[in-house]
Symmetry: C2
Subunit: 289 residues, 2 copies
């Protein structure tokens, strides 16, 4: 009796979000080596494949045919073929199709292997240059005003910085709704990420509607809403003694008295002034030869 | 009078999280072209640089010296040098240092340009093969049991799937605390992402402590807690008529009567049975030649 072949691997492959150089060496190799690429839009993907002289066949799998495509693809994986899943841009499954195929494959014991790469979420967050340690990603905002306002209210209640995607023709309405429903937060509007006209507009929920009243609104937008607290980034781990000592020095340079600096740091860190004072003394000693 | 030089760019460069092939073409080029690399750990980064024959000088910038390093680096950027910020693994600023430098640079008008690439957050989420459309990233869990239980309680209340990082020597305690405080959720424990021993253990909050009682716990862990609702992924946009027609067919294949299938879909989609019935009829017609 012939042995059943060992099943193939389903690779979830991140592709560029605008700049064709934003693809990893492994992604290029895997796209070359698999027997089939399941692509959200085969025309868009073929531009990528042509650029890198990859000749693997691509078939379309998008939200409207995923139910029909998933099971035959799982059968091919079980029969030993390896398949790569890609979407139009960025990391598949992030506001993109592929969930059904991925789960169906994993449920049949097929190896699902992510090939990491570009994604607008983290690109926007790292370019935002605002403090964050935690965040929520909430996908596209709803298209209707009522639903969008409820969405922003719920987002506000999370108490986290959060990232959303927004279509250009809805940007102004969305910024109006954000201003009307959110508590005051820093807001970075990222446009055309990784492309030539990449731009980070650093503003606030309150100021944003005016800023964009007079701007041309074209391209794709990713919105990063900062935390309502002033210093999210210090919440993760208590500062080391050395850092507290250094930070007191910095605050002194900015003109605070020692007492003010200690009080400010204590408040920011959720510790007592006495505790901060003791830590600074230890940090000072540790920094000395 | 001489002109001031045009300032350089601060590149935030994502590097591999385990597999050296997980670096983009642009990251390699930028690391080659900048005049200086600010690295969390120069020894770890020099392994990467050697592998790709990159000879750019790297200096250390980590959480304990970022306060001292940031301003001189900003001065060099203002003087026209371009600098790349990298951390030990993955996308800088994600539970990593660099926030202070990035904000200081942006505040002085220096261009901050993210070079996207690997990150454990999205790698774990895409390999998890569980339904999600939104998520929260919460960084490392607190190290003390009390704080960790409060952390998990607050995470639970977000009502979103969420991702955390966990140290190997705390994994079992953390899973115990999650089981004790979280509502029942699917849980994927990802280990050694992108490395040879990459593994996704698909379990639940309740079952996980037992699963890991008998397993060796080595490597780095990323935990993906699924949503408390069964079908997060259908929440984003209403299903198309064609998809509803196809989905009813699938449910019929699984043995549901037409009435049961319509009722199930109506509940899942938050629509009335009458609405689902009408959509299916339209979807059926649209699918016919």
């Amino acid at each position: 009796m012939p042995h059943a072949p060992s099943p193939g691997t389903l690779f979830i492959v991140a592709t560029p979000i605008g700049n064709l150089e934003d693809i990893t060496l492994r992604a290029i190799r895997v796209l070359r080596e698999v027997s089939l690429i399941a692509a959200e839009d085969t025309r868009r993907t073929s531009r990528l494949l042509n650029h890198f002289a990859i000749t693997t066949r691509a078939i379309s799998m998008h939200e409207h045919n995923e139910h029909d495509r998933a099971l035959p693809l799982v059968e091919r994986l079980l029969a030993g073929e390896s398949i790569a899943l890609v979407t139009d841009a960025g990391t598949p499954l992030v506001s993109d199709p592929g969930h059904l195929l991925t789960r169906a494959a994993a449920a049949r014991g097929i190896r699902v292997e992510p090939i990491p790469g570009a994604s607008a979420v983290l690109t926007a967050l790292t370019g935002a240059a605002m403090p964050w340690a935690k965040f929520a990603f909430l996908g596209f905002t709803p298209t209707k005003q009522n639903a969008r306002r409820i969405f922003y209210k719920e987002a506000d209640a999370l108490g986290l910085p959060f990232v959303v995607y927004e279509a250009p023709h809805r940007l102004r309405a969305s910024l109006d709704d954000a201003a009307a429903t959110l508590s005051e937060r820093p807001l970075v509007v990222a446009r055309e990420l990784t492309k030539i006209h990449e731009e980070f507009v650093r503003t606030t929920t309150t100021a944003a509607p005016d800023v964009f009243r007079s701007r041309e609104v074209i391209g794709e937008f990713t919105l990063v809403f900062g935390g309502a607290e002033p210093r999210e980034d210090t919440a993760r781990e208590p500062l080391s003694d050395e850092t507290i000592w250094a930070e007191l020095g910095r605050l002194a340079e900015e003109g605070r008295s020692r007492r003010e600096a200690i009080a400010e740091l204590a408040k920011r860190e959720g510790r007592t002034s006495k505790d901060i004072y003791a830590a600074a003394e230890r940090g000072k000693t540790a920094g000395e030869p």
